[in-house]
């Protein structure tokens, strides 16, 4: 067989599978700690130990009968977000600027789109793995109202992940150096993590702050995940959440393709 151009973007991205598999085999031990152990610490500290002091009133906890039930879906969605932030900031800059790995890839028959899709595929694999483990660990604590709810809550994490992955990828792809990442984490990820309804109902905030929280992507992810785990799905609200996340992921994709093309092709 001789070398050839891929017939479509997905087939092209699939050619990167062996590359990402080798990268993962080399790095999984390091990421395992942060992916599996840290969320567990949060669940124990916040959900179980701190949650002991919180009254399990469904009226105040969006339908949850315990603080652990309330916080578990919030932590799951936040976990998706954090995994994505870690995977599409410094690693993307490394492949564009430090190691220039992408330039090697695009000297082959692969194109910028395929390189991005391949990388995002790997990010989604990481989201799936960490969230899958998280769901399995949480299940014995009785935080899922139904089995289907748990399965759907897990699947929704790919959407939550993509909604963050494509725009942040686009940001990283065009940055000249890594210094803005500190701001991205401190003023982007951490406030989202703390104030998007993962730890307390968004209505506890001042009305205008609550309104602000409701336009952030993590709140849509948290609320959608929580509806599924608590079995309190409201059709139209859920649809708004899904639409919001899909639109963000799609717009982010086009932005990412544009920024990386501009950076690399010139």
């Amino acid at each position: 067989m001789s070398s050839s151009a891929p017939t479509n973007v997905v087939a092209g991205a699939a050619r990167l599978l062996d590359y990402w598999a080798i990268v993962y085999r080399r790095t999984w031990k390091g990421s395992a700690i942060s992916s599996f152990v840290n969320p567990l610490f949060y669940v124990l500290a916040m959900g179980v130990l701190l949650g002991d002091y919180v009254e399990g009133d469904p009226g105040k906890l969006e339908g949850a009968t315990s603080y652990l039930m309330f916080i578990a879906p919030g932590l799951l969605a936040a976990q998706s977000m954090q995994t994505v932030f870690g995977e599409v900031t410094y690693p993307v800059m490394g492949m564009v600027k430090w190691h220039k790995t992408y330039f090697g890839m695009t000297a082959s028959p692969l194109s910028v789109r395929e390189v991005i899709l391949g990388h995002l595929g790997f990010v989604m694999f990481r989201v799936g793995l960490t969230c899958g483990v998280f769901v399995l660990v949480m299940a014995p604590f009785g935080v899922f109202a139904t089995v289907w709810g748990a399965v759907l809550a897990f699947l929704v994490q790919f959407l939550v992940g993509l909604a963050f992955a494509t725009p942040i990828y686009g940001l990283s792809a065009g940055l000249k150096d890594e210094s803005p990442f500190a701001l991205v984490f401190r003023l982007g990820m951490i406030p989202l993590f703390l104030f998007s309804g993962a730890f307390f109902p968004i209505d506890n905030l001042d009305p205008w702050l609550a309104a602000f929280a409701k336009v952030t992507p993590l709140w849509h992810g948290v609320d959608l995940t929580r509806m599924l785990t608590l079995d309190t799905v409201d059709g139209s609200t859920a649809l708004v959440h899904v639409a919001y996340l899909v639109v963000l992921a799609v717009l982010g994709w086009f932005w990412a393709v544009r920024r990386l093309s501009k950076r690399m092709v010139g």
Binding site: M1, A5, D18, I22, H99, F103, M105, T106, A107, S108
Partner: protein, 314 residues
């Protein structure tokens, strides 16, 4: 697809970045099996040309055909059949030598088994078999360069593009790279390289173009370029610290008629002539005694400096 013997055909090829025009309309025709060189100082437009030929950088004007295909529409098809050895190594430093080659072969859609066999052959070819399991970051500069060349050969390319293949290598490493490139040429691979080492161009290229400021200023084989733009020999005369009234310019005026062309440098005079010994004898006859003299053959470097000037380009 029309299969011709023209591997790369450029007509009026241009590349601009905003206001700046890096390549200002060049015509090039690289034939199958040939070793073709782009020479030029930094900023001459060599790398911009190479990136267009590698089908990664869009053409700003003129036409470009690679293997008969248009890079604007058939970029992936072109890249499947060429090999690229970029100026900067783009190896994955945290993967092993073998894995770097293996994953690269997979980008070309080659089956795993075939890639594994090919990797073993290539490691042998660039003498890195013993380093197969080493991390790339532990390799020397010369080894990384050889690995990059091996990687560019993974798809058995018909054309191999090499952007400054030996820049930064020590003499031993350069000779190993030259030897491997020469073998590839013998196997019928078309080589296209950029360099600013004149000895490299003379060693490897059948034909070359000299680029300056985005344009081609000369074209031909190393020998014809020397014949056209220089003389057979050069007499280099050093006069040491000039006594009063004996500046280099003044000396040059006295021997002007002895050479086809005279170049006055701060430390020496260059007399371009067909017979250096004879010219030197005539210089002595006129009572001029250089403290040191050297008669040598003209090289491509003389041609290069004549065409592109001695001014430093940063």
């Amino acid at each position: 697809m029309a299969e011709t013997d023209s591997m790369i055909l450029a007509q009026g090829l241009r590349k601009s970045f905003g206001e700046f025009e890096a390549v200002k309309g060049i015509d090039v025709d690289v034939r199958r099996g040939e070793a073709f060189g782009f020479l030029g100082p930094n900023g001459a437009g060599k790398s911009s040309t190479m990136r267009m030929v590698a089908a990664v950088s869009p053409v700003s004007g003129g036409t470009l055909r690679i293997l008969g295909m248009d890079p604007a529409t058939d970029g992936p098809q072109i890249r499947a059949r060429i090999g690229v050895c970029p100026q900067e190594d783009t190896l994955d430093l945290e993967l092993t030598v073998r894995d770097n080659l293996f994953v690269y072969g997979r980008y070309f859609g080659l089956p795993r088994k075939e890639v594994r066999e090919r990797v073993d052959e290539l490691l042998e070819f660039v003498q890195l078999t013993e380093k197969a399991g080493s991390m790339v970051e532990d390799l020397s500069g010369g080894m990384k360069r050889r690995l990059t060349i091996a990687r560019s050969l993974i798809n058995r390319p018909e054309v191999l593009l090499l952007d400054e293949p030996t820049t930064g290598l020590d003499p031993q490493a350069r000779h190993v790279v030259w030897d491997r490139l020469f073998r590839l040429k013998q196997q019928g691979v078309t080589l296209v390289l950029t360099t600013h080492y004149m000895d490299e161009a003379e060693q490897l290229c059948d034909r070359l173009v000299v680029m300056d400021n985005g344009r081609i200023v000369a074209e031909g084989s190393p020998l014809t370029l020397i014949a056209e733009h220089s003389t057979r020999e050069v007499a280099e005369l050093r006069f040491g610290v000039a006594p009063e009234g004996q500046s280099h310019e003044a000396i040059a005026a006295k021997v002007e008629d002895l050479a086809d062309r005279i170049e006055v440098l701060p430390d020496r005079l260059l007399l371009y002539t067909s017979d250096g010994e004879e010219t030197l004898a005539k210089v002595h006859e006129r009572g001029l005694e250089p403290v040191a003299s050297l008669i040598r053959r003209s090289t491509l470097e003389d041609v290069f400096l004549r065409l592109t000037g001695r001014t430093l380009v940063d």
